[in-house]
């Protein structure tokens, strides 16, 4: 079953076409990686899927329903969770309160169920120790973990991760990959934008390549990485 499908989605900022006639489907339970050079329109594509920006043309279906015109809030409640490329925590709220907000409003859990749901996620994302720390005081790794944890707390069926491994040390990255694999193993569909290719390849089953807002390849990761176009784009970048 298809969880998400984009049909000829386009977005322009002035004269610049950042998303150009993008069409693809994501089957439920899949982990899809998105790669492409800086400025290829990866984050814009995410923002279109989450509703943080509106598409100029095309249609986006989530769980078989047209959500193209739905605001971000509605899509979260329908099951689209996201992390931000640059962590955007609620700085004065504690880690626990960050999750409680997501569980209360994104997943719309009743008050008494919120705590239990957050505890599981704190455990899984290794943030339990920091539960009462204001998010503004976290380290980079912890902020990345909080991005993941907060997205999880919205109860997503589709989880969008935007460069969550960027800027981490090798060890930190491996620990985060393990966490993401565990989340995926529980059945959550994942779309993951990432420059750290080995992290991506450890999780995803399918790869989409974006360049100048266009999809220039989608398929099995090894085949995609071997293709001539992708090699040209990534020339100079170690694969």
């Amino acid at each position: 079953m298809t969880i998400l499908s984009l049909h000829n989605v386009s977005k322009r900022f002035g004269a610049l076409t950042v998303t150009d006639d993008v069409t693809f489907d994501v089957p439920r339970g899949q982990a899809l990686g998105i790669i492409g050079p800086n400025g290829a329109g990866k984050s814009t594509l995410f923002n279109l899927i989450t509703g943080n920006i509106r598409a100029d043309a095309g249609r986006i279906d989530f769980l078989g329903r047209d959500v193209t015109r739905d605001p971000a809030m509605k899509r979260v409640q329908a099951g689209v969770g996201r992390s931000f490329q640059i962590p955007q925590p609620f700085e004065k709220l504690t880690v626990f309160e960050n999750l409680a907000t997501a569980a209360s409003f994104g997943r719309r859990l009743p008050e008494r169920a919120v705590t239990a749901a957050c505890l599981d996620i704190l455990e899984q994302t290794e943030l339990m120790r920091r539960a009462n720390t204001p998010a503004g005081q976290l380290s980079l790794l912890e902020r990345k973990r909080l991005e993941l944890a907060r997205a999880m707390a919205t109860g997503p069926q589709l989880l969008l991760l935007d460069e969550i491994a960027g800027g981490l040390t090798e060890g930190e990255c491996q620990a985060l990959v393990a966490t993401i694999r565990a989340i995926h193993a529980q059945g959550t569909t994942i779309i993951w934008i990432e420059h750290v290719l080995h992290a991506l390849n450890a999780v995803v089953e399918r790869l989409l390549v974006l360049d100048f807002g266009r999809v220039i390849g989608i398929g099995e990761p090894a085949a995609i990485m071997a293709s001539k176009e992708v090699r040209e784009i990534y020339l100079g970048i170690e694969i």
Binding site: T50, N52, P71, A72, M73, V76, Q77, R82, F84, Q88, P89, F90, E91, K92, L93, T94, F96, E97, A100, T101, A102, S104, F105, G106, R107, R108, E111, T115, A116, L119, M128, R129, R130, A131, N132, T133, P134, Q137, R150, A153, T154
Partner: protein
Amino acid sequence: MRYRVQTRTRAGHIAGFVALGLIALAIVLPVFAGRGLIQDMFFILTMLVLAQFWNLLAGYGGLVSVGQQAFVGMGAYAMFGAVILWGVDPIPAILAGGVAALLLAVPTAYFAFRLQGAYFAIGTWVIAEVTRLMVAQWKALGGGTGTSLPREATGDMWGVSAVQALFGLREAAARDVLAYWLALALAVATIGGIYWLLRNRLGLALSAVRDNTEAAKSVGVDAGRMKWFVFLIAAFGTGLCGALIFVQTARISPDAAFNVSQWTAYVIFIVVIGGIGTIEGPILGVLIFFALQSAFADYGSWYLFALGIIGIVVMLVAPRGLWGLFSDRTGIHLFPVQRRLVGRDISEGET
């Protein structure tokens, strides 16, 4: 269960008892206080209410309005209108002030919410000025020069004769006592209401919007609705407070009722030096403001000059206000709103 959520703190407990004691003391204050002190307390309490609502707007909703005088003025004029045109008693007419401010807030929000940041601030100011100019055309309420509450309305005001008999006061002093009690009730209700709101799950949503609006939307918070909600609540409360202030003065003019420095600039000063985004901040701020005003108001423009400098210095040295500085150092919160997870494996965390 191994874990539970707790918002209570020892400081909060103690503060609760002290607050109850202070409220009880404030209720019986007119028994032994002179008229001057009652008037000062009225001033402090009404400024505190305005500051709490501005703090709710700017500190929690991220809505930096410079046009709250629109709601003070609208509330005051609606109260006057109800008394003079419909013959309503001034005390229930205060409610009409709140409702009128609420009604004005709907179109104000509709237009001003299209603007962001500084543009929003200027937009609200412009709307307040337009409202002032329109009210100044209202001849039945004295037009540009203003008017007074009729003698018969203030003389027969609900409760005045009872207060007169109780304390053996003259009518004008009895009116001050009555206005003071109403201000006390409004201040307690305002602080209690805001505290309840922040401890409620709506408080989480408000704090999320304050910290990061885009992220708040992405976890399912209806940021637009939260902004409407706080704007309307703040307008209603500010309108009530404005009406009450002018019941006490019994005299109104557009320039006094829609005064940007009195009802917005001073209020911003109070919140900023006290500590924005906390309930304690405006309380501390209003006490400092009152002390400064009592000590230096005779120096005219030098006083305003000094207020400006103090405001700037506090913003530079303690961007979160004097209460923010104090609570960062000591970890003390008199109105704790933080939901702490208590259980094993959890460090107390920096609070």
